[in-house]
Every structure is written in structure tokens, then in C-alpha cells.
Symmetry: D2
Subunit: 348 residues, 4 copies
């Protein structure tokens, strides 16, 4: 059993981490922090935890966290880069679910997040935690930058085709639909039930921060050639789930749709958490809801000379955040990668 | 006062037509037909109509319809092409909300809808009823083919740019999100609350019938040059509304985003039902819910050399069906075009 | 045309008032106030109003409001009792949609709302605005206290039976289900989409303020005999609508269910906005959504010796707030009571 | 490992049984039947099962089921009473999730379900499977009648008070709110998204079948004294969850609310799946969603002389169906009762 702490435990990702760590066969939850709810039992904020843990929210100090072998940060960006270095210096491992260590180029990070980066050395050492792309590096990492939710969905759609150079990286369009929990558990008029319900809209039409993260990783898949990506996020009237509809153009039209489907299947055949649907089907977010799975399809709706369309579905709070962090922990500790993550979707 | 009949009054579009005709200052509702609910009061099927009309569902015979000056068909495709010709021969006017008269090329219609067309002569004479594009022809028409919901949203996004030849019609991607009412009021497992709720997915990834309708109209806007359109529809967990996110590439990058926005504003400045949002905002389906309005925006999320993104929001059952039919009726009878259609969105 | 102002125009009730006043044939909207959004166009906060009004939010000063013949307060409680007296002294009429003038007994008001009442004289003069009970007094009123949403639904269920003394007022249970918009448009964690969606719960189980308001009015229907009412509100995962399930016991079991249904039908037969469903049917909130209607049913689920169950459905923001205020205005000005309120439900 | 079969595996309860059996440490899923989907892989109907099982739907014959040590029936009523006797005669165990064996009085069963009962002898031998009430009998049973969803929620609210004779059983009102999945996965207009969304209504106002089941069990808790129960079910716009608001009157007002709360806490203190909230809180359906838990509260909203209100929340498909069946299986096989059922709610 190793000891786990969660910094920032009152949000949706925080709750999911707590739930997964409590159920994981090799972890013990030793601390969950929150400045706002200091001293309050976890089960007061989350009655779903009634009788399941007697922990109270603690202060996010090194003292609180010193018993932890690994610390998860489920905080807004700008926190982990300040608090993680001391833990790392103590030899503790850290998985940061915020954006603080995702973009390795410090000036680009600072421009994207509009603040100075206070831990540039660790920015270089951090490993970007998409296991399907970087499993070996993650296994050796002390600090893992857990991917964003949109970047996870988009990268899993593109990874096989970029790596195998089947796709022109200059014309990628990712039209992405997210449930509202991606925006977090914060008191904000735009997130009210009455504002979200029966409503669909695009946002960040002048550019979303996740585009930089996706582009960095796509270039790493492709001999450092920077892609040209158009990324448009949309909010859906649902709590959870991301559906990414990714439009790509082949390098040449040599491959048929059937062959592209085969490429996709083969690429992921040993991945425990990525499933390619049979030809003719396409993924639904609810089939991966509450799980660490990604489901994928490929098609060509405008016929042989039209773009290929790869559709990718994940749970934004799990494969897009908390359960991918657990998967990374499993890899970092050399455990069975699926441990504590076998849940299937609760339907409907 | 003119007399109106509705053929096929038990679906969602049928109800909306009934509601709009009952409230319209120049129309009297004389018959609503349904074979399945023959003789049943409208208010039994739709308790919202309690005390508002004493009509019962009638048989869709010429006898039932003979008092009507204009007949709306809110039926599945394949019905209006059989029943409308007799009414038209009597001099009655017809607005068909189904697909029967939308594609003028008969072989293409038959291939798209996979059945023989039984009224090819009227197919030629029908006018496609998008008032913003074809107002003058509609004013003289006896038979109007009311546009599909997706085609209305996509065409209003593209109309100014295609007509002014600002856009390359060879690379258009329309990623479209619809509420579930577009699939109609039919007993079908896939439309159950438990299947739709908390779920987003793409469908018809091998090609949707509306692509042919959109392509025909885009070519008519553009000296008969056929566009190349990739059209991917998605279902959203909501009852009503369509959001079309349309990705287009300019003929050349001479125009700035600010100028493109100006083009859009100017093009629609006299249209009563099309509103362009101020630069920097983008439309939400709920702001047009329950109305005949379309709201539009334009942006360029991947920067100056990336595609333009036009977002279009309509109510699929109103501007995408019933209220656009009323708008067409207003044009056909020479009435004020906004009559009976002034409702603003009921929020939230 | 009379001039109308709305104080507190950024909430959901405020928007609905704006929408109804803009469409009303005899009113002109001259001012909408909001301290928070001072100077901002209404259409910036509510893009559904784009091109429909050029008004901007103004300060809630007597100067701003002096042109108004009637002022609607759509503010939290505690505001109208401070601002209305000056307007009333000028001879302007006021309809207060908050709770400030609903409970005539000042000490009871102060205990219920936990603040001193600053306008006790107007508290006595205010008329409680449930037209189905108090139409004549409303017609002569200068100040109308618009009923709460729950009280409207519960009183319309009980009015015929209490007035005709068919029911024992000592054992009334009102189990009431409300859409979330009743809680207003405020940044509050508990109102987030992710907190409300797929969730049902009771609240205020130690007593809700509306119980005092309902009890006062029931006693006025019944020779001042105070009823004993158990009132339990619940929140539903939907934006709008109230369903009140009211359990009552007869004075004696002389009347059959069929007769009770007849009593209900007869009592409301001339009311334009109350509809009693045929025996065997019961109301659905969506059939009154977006309207000023109330639909009612009566039944006896546990058999002849069990309680009667009256079910009442209204739109909480309309018959439960904004459109009932318009109905009261129509009565106060001697206009046709249904004017500007004829909308039927937009379905689905 | 014991072998498990599920008869009727295409509904929502069927899927949940499959999911729970696949994850249970002591069970192996050997057959899932469906006449309609014969030969089709489970993962075609439920893509959430992709790569998790290679089973196909089989015919519900004794041959198919002979390998099973225990068979779950997730079928409409009328099936299990015909098919279970042969399995039981073979010595197999059966848990019937339908209503076939819930009401022990055969004439009452036949009147309630309006068909002859074909297995009256097994009706007598069946044990009603509410572990909190009948754990010892379940442990010895060969045939368990799994309780209905509403009856589970209502009985857990009443059990302590009826058994301890604190409550007058002659005046019980249960106002119950259910998610729509309780109505099953069937093609039915009333269950469509567009009919359910933004809509709340009561149903079966002339009496619901579950009232007989609840009354039987309440009488068994109370020296066979039949209660007088008014039971009104409502449908909510959500997929899952039941909230029961139960109004009860004390035998005498000797006990304070604080004492009643203590009674409730003490009664359930050793139950692994029933949690009583701290005084002042009340349960939300989402906190038990996806779990086998029931959460409870007690309050007295109309003051000391008013009725007590017990609120009970369960997941209708789990504690109200599939996971309670697994709990019963655990009891029948003498396993740890919580095995395979430890999941906490996935939030939000």
C-alpha cells in the first residue's frame, strides 16, 4: 500500500480522484486538502462519501503532505508549479492534473497561460502523461503532467495516423463537444443549470489554450513538424463526456477506408483502454461514461475524395483527468496498468 | 382570413404548425389530419391545446381538405408527392415540410430517398422555400418545398459568402449539432430519454440525405458550380435547436476577419429573422429557441491563415420547419413577412 | 399605450417581464434597471433580444422611473418595500413580484423574512394578486403583491375546495416539485448544471417561507380559520415548471370523486387561465410551459376512503411570476385580462 | 466461482446485472438470453461491453441455462412464473427481478397483475428479498422475489418506525419521484426524450401495483395489521434514481424529532447499504446513483404537531433492482454481503 494525497479536493476532478483512490487495491488515501473547507469532513461536501471515509479537508502544506508517496494536484493552473517543487525535492512523486507542466516550452507556456512560470527546471523534467504515447517515459518519471481533457480525446484520434504519417498535419480540424463538468465546480452564472440546459454553443472562438498542448504533442509524434490545427470547443447540455470529431486529409488517397480502419484497430490492439468500434458504428459518450475507456471510429462521409473523420469519445473527468492520472500512477509504480480502473459504464 | 389545413398533425412539426396557425391573425385552422388518431380531439393528444380548439383529427382526404386555401404537409417523405397534386390541380396552395419536392433533379431525388418519385412535373415547379435566398420565387409559387432543418442552418451560414464568391466551395465542412426532436415523435428505442440523455454522438457517418439538398442550393447560389461539402450531423441531449459550425476557406486571404464580419452584417441587414452577433460573441441555440430567428457569428480560431468558422443557430422545429413554413405562407399571400412570428425566446 | 418600467431586469423573471411587455399591445417599455449592468444594452446580457430593443440597463432611481405609469419589481425581498413608497406617493402603480407585500401581518412578515419591514402602511394597502381569488380588489389596487410561485400552484389546487368548505383544512399536505429557475439567476454552487442534472431532492425540510403566505390566503378563503399545512418543496432537474401534488381530506365522504371533479370544473369554468383536465388525466408541467395557464386534476388513488389528490401544474416564471404580474396589470387597467398572454406551450 | 445466467438481458436492469456479474469476484457469466437479439453479441447492443465479453444473446431454454448455479430473471411479469419452476426443480437457484413472486396471496396477485398465476406453490415458497428486513429467510431461500424499486425506497423509509410501532399505519402518504429508466427500455412514445425532458407529472393516480406489494410487507412488519397507504408515483426528467417523500404520523407525539432521528440511526447502524444523513440534511438521488446505497433523513417541516417526513433515496436500477439482486445472491451463498457492490457514486 502506498500513501496518496490529493491537493484541491473539492472540485469534480478532486472527488473522482478520492473515489478512485479509496477503491484502489494498492493505495491508501492519507490527505485531501482544501483551504476553503478546512476541517470539514469530506462527506459533508460530498454526501456520497458518507460512512466511506472519516477524513477532513486539510491545509495544503508540506507537513500535511509529507506522509504521501505520491501527490495529485487537482488545482487551477498556477498552484502546482509553486507547491510541487518542494515535494519533488523530498523525493515524493507528483501527478499534476492542471496545465502547469504540460507545455515544455516555457515562453509558450507563459504566453498561453498569461503568467510567469515559476518552475522552469521541472517543466523540462516533467513527462506528459498520455500512456498510449509515452508509456516508457512515464514509468521513469517523478513528475507527470496529466493531459487536458480535450487533448486526450484529440490525440487518441490522431496518434496512429500521425505516427504512421498517413495524414497531412497541415489541415486538421477538431470540432469538439464537451459536457459542462469540464468547466469545474465553481459558482459562475454561465455554468448554471438554467444557462446550460437545452443549449449548445461554441466558445473560445478566438483560440483555446488546449490547442497549444495538442500541437506540441502532435509535433512530437511527427519528427517535430508542427501541425496546423483548427480546434473549436463546444459546450453540451450534459454533465460528462467529450466527443471529438476530427477531420483529417490523407497524405495521398492510396488507402481505402477499410484499410484506414484496419490501421486504427491494429495500432490500438494491445491498449487496454482504447477500443475501436466495428466499421459502420461510431462512439457515444455514454458508453465510456464513468470509465477510463476511449472509443474510436473512422469514416469518410463525403465519399472517397473527402476528408476522413475520426470520432473519439472519452469521459472528460476520467480518461480526460482523474482515471488517466491513476493509470499514470499504475505505470509509475510498475503495477498492472488497469488496476482500480476496470469499471464499465453505468447505463443509462 | 384564409383557411388552413395541416396533413399529419400528430408529430412535433404538426403541433407547432397548429400552434402557429391558431395564433396567426390572418388564418383559420379548418382541418388537421391523422389516420392513426382519427376522430380524437387534438387536445387529447396535445393537452396544451385544452380549451383552445375543438377540432378533432380527420382523415387526409381531398374532401377533408377542400375548404383549405393552403395545405401544409407535415408527413414523412413519400406522402406529399402522392396527395399534393390533386390539391394543386384544384388551385389550392401547398407547403410541403417533407423532402418530397426539395431536390429538383428527379434521378438524384430517387437515389437519395430510395423510392420512385410519383410527381416529377410538380418537382420541377416547386420552389425551394428559403426566403432569404428565394423570396421572389416563393411569392409566385403555388407549391413550396420547405427546407430541411440542417440545410436551413447551413445555408444561412454560407449564403453571403457563396453568393459574393468569397469562399472556396471545394472545401466546406459542416459539423452540425441537433436536438433530438429533429428525429420526430416516433416510438423508437434510440430516441428514448434514457438513450439520449447524457449522451452525444455523430450519426450517418456514411452520408446524410440533407447533403444533397444543401449542395443543390449552394450550387444555385454560385453559378451552378457544385460545392464539395462534408456534412456530419450529431445528436445532442436536448429537445430543440441546431447549431451548425461551418468551416470554410477563403478564395484568398485578402479580407480580414473584421471585413468578413462586416460582409455578413451587411448581407443580412434587412432580413427580419437573421441576426448577426457583435464580433467576439457566438450564438447559443437557446437564444433562438421557440422563435423563427437565426443567429450567426464568424471567427478565425486558428489565426489569420486558418479557416473561417461561421456558427449558425436556429430552432430546428421552427426556422428549420414550422415557422419557416408560416414565413413562406406570409410571402406567398403577400402579407407582412413577420406576421404571427414575432415571438422571442422563452428563457431559460 | 402606457409606460412600463422593470426594476431588477437581469434575472429570469426580469427577462420574462421584458419579453412580455415588449410584445404586449398596450404597453411601452421605458426603463429596465440593474445596478450591476448599468449602461449595458439589454441585448448584451440577453442576446435573445438582439434587434428587438435598444434599451440599456439604467439605475433604479425615481428619476429613471418617473415616466413609468406602472413599475414592476423583480428584485430580491427587501428592495421593493424601500423603493416603492416614493413611486406610490407619486401616484404610480406598482406590482411587486418579490415577497415584500405578500404577508399582511407585519410581525409575521418580519419573523418569516428575518428583517424589519420598512413600509408597514403599504403592507396593509397592498392587494395579494391572485386574480382567481381577488379579481375585484386587484382592479382597484395601486400596489399589488404578486404571489409566489409555489403559493400560486397550491392555492389554485385548493381554492374551490376551501371556499366551498369541502375539505378539512387541518390536514393538508402539499408535496411540490419545482424547476430550478425558481432559485433565480445567481452564481451559486447548488444551482450549477452539474449539481442539478440527474438529481432530485427535497429542501427546506425545516419549513419554507411560502408556507406562511399560503396559510394566510387559505384562511382568507375560509372565514379566517387557519389551516394546518405541511409544505415540502423539491428541486427537479429541469429549468421551468411547478407540479404541486396536494393531499386533502374531505369534511365528510359524501361526495364521490366524480362529483369532486365536477365541483372543480364548475368553479373554474369562466377562468381564462385555469383548465381542468378530463377525469382520468393529470397535468404535465410541459403543457403549461411558457404560458400563463394552470392545469388541474383530482383523483383518489387509495380508494374511496383515502385522501383526495389534487395535482396542479404551472410555469413557475409565468403564472408563478411574470405573466401573472401582466395578468394583474391587465386587471388593474381594466383591459382584457388575456391580453398579451395568449401564448400556448412550445412543445416539445 | 459460481455460474450465473441472466434471462432477459436487453433491458436496463439486464445490462446492470451483466455489468455487476462480470465484475463480481465470485461469479462467472455463462449465459444471457434474449429472443429478440438471438445470436447477436452483447457488445453490439451495449457497446460499453466492447472487449469485455464475447458472449452472444442466447435462447432462454433450460438447455441454455443448465450450467448456471443461479439464474436472474430480468423479464416483464408473467415470464418467470412459467420458466423458473423447471430450473428450481433442477435444484438451481433463482432470483426473480419481476413481480411474479412478490405478492404471496395468489388471488391478490392475480387481481393486481390481471392474469392467472401459473406457479402458486412457488409463490408460497418464494422469499421477498429485502435484506434489511428478511436477511435470515433469504439466506435459506432457493427462490427470491427481488423487491420493486418503489417498494424498496418506501419500505426502507418506514421499516424502523413500523417495526418499533412508532407510527400510525393508517395514515401513510408516499409521494414518490422516479427517473424514467424505471419504465424500461421499450419503444414507447411516452418515454421519448422529447416527452420526458423538461416535464414532471404524476401517473397511475387511480392506483399503482406497487401499493399492494408495499402494503403486504408493511403488514408483515407490524403483526399483520394492514396499513392504509396512499402511494402516488411521479416521473422526473432524469434517467435514474428514486426519491420517496413519506409522510407519517406518530402513534403519539412523545418522541421529539431528535429522538426519531436517533431511532433511525440506531436501527440501521449495522446495515452496510443504508446511511442516515446527519440531522438537518436530506438525501439527493445523485449521491446514491450507480450504487447499492439508500440514504435517509427525517424531519418535521410543519412543526411539532405536524407529520414526520422521511425522505429516502435509492438508485432505482441498482438498490431498486440489479444490485439488490446481487446483494441477495451474496446472502444466499453466504458470501460477504457487500462483495461486488462497493461502488460509490460517480459524480457529477
Amino acid at each position: 500500500m502506498i500513501n496518496v494525497a490529493v491537493v484541491g479536493g473539492t472540485g469534480y476532478t478532486g472527488y473522482e480522484l478520492i473515489r478512485l483512490v479509496l477503491a484502489h487495491p494498492q493505495t491508501s488515501l492519507v490527505a485531501v486538502t482544501s483551504r476553503a473547507e478546512l476541517g470539514i469532513p469530506l462527506s459533508t461536501i460530498f454526501p456520497a462519501l458518507l460512512n466511506q471515509t472519516s477524513l477532513c479537508f486539510a491545509e495544503p502544506t508540506p507537513k500535511t503532505l509529507e506522509k504521501a508517496d505520491i501527490v495529485f494536484f487537482a488545482t487551477p493552473h498556477g498552484i502546482a508549479m509553486k507547491q510541487a517543487p518542494e515535494l519533488l525535492a523530498n523525493g515524493q512523486r507528483v501527478i499534476d492534473l492542471s496545465a502547469d507542466f504540460r507545455i515544455q516550452n516555457a515562453p509558450l507556456w507563459e504566453q498561453t497561460y498569461n503568467m510567469p512560470h515559476t518552475s522552469v527546471d521541472w517543466l523540462q523534467k516533467a513527462v506528459y502523461g498520455l500512456p498510449e504515447h509515452r508509456r516508457e517515459a512515464i514509468a521513469k518519471a517523478q513528475l507527470v503532467a496529466n493531459p487536458g481533457c480535450y487533448p486526450t480525446a484529440v490525440q487518441l484520434a490522431l496518434l496512429p495516423f500521425i505516427i504512421k504519417k498517413l495524414v497531412n498535419p497541415q489541415h486538421i480540424i477538431a470540432d469538439v463537444k464537451s459536457g459542462i463538468s469540464g468547466a469545474g465546480r465553481q459558482a459562475n452564472i454561465g455554468l448554471l443549470y438554467c444557462e446550460v440546459n437545452e443549449n449548445v454553443h461554441a466558445y473560445k472562438l478566438d483560440g483555446h489554450r488546449h490547442a497549444a498542448e495538442i500541437s506540441q504533442e502532435l509535433s512530437l509524434m511527427n519528427s517535430n513538424i508542427m501541425p496546423h490545427l483548427t480546434f473549436v470547443p463546444h459546450l453540451m447540455p450534459m454533465s460528462r463526456g467529450i466527443l471529438a470529431t476530427v477531420y483529417i486529409n490523407p497524405i495521398e488517397y492510396a488507402l481505402s477506408l477499410a484499410n484506414m480502419h484496419k490501421e486504427l484497430v491494429n495500432f490500438y490492439k494491445d491498449e487496454p483502454f482504447v477500443a475501436v468500434l466495428p466499421a459502420g458504428q461510431s462512439p457515444k459518450t455514454r458508453d465510456v461514461r464513468g470509465t477510463n475507456f476511449c472509443q474510436l471510429s473512422i469514416s469518410q462521409p463525403a465519399g472517397e475524395k473527402g476528408p476522413w473523420v475520426v470520432v473519439s469519445a472519452i469521459d472528460n473527468l476520467l480518461k480526460g483527468a482523474a482515471s488517466q492520472a491513476i493509470q499514470n500512477m499504475n505505470v509509475m509504480f510498475g503495477w498492472k496498468e488497469t488496476q482500480g480502473l476496470e469499471h464499465l459504464a453505468v447505463l443509462p
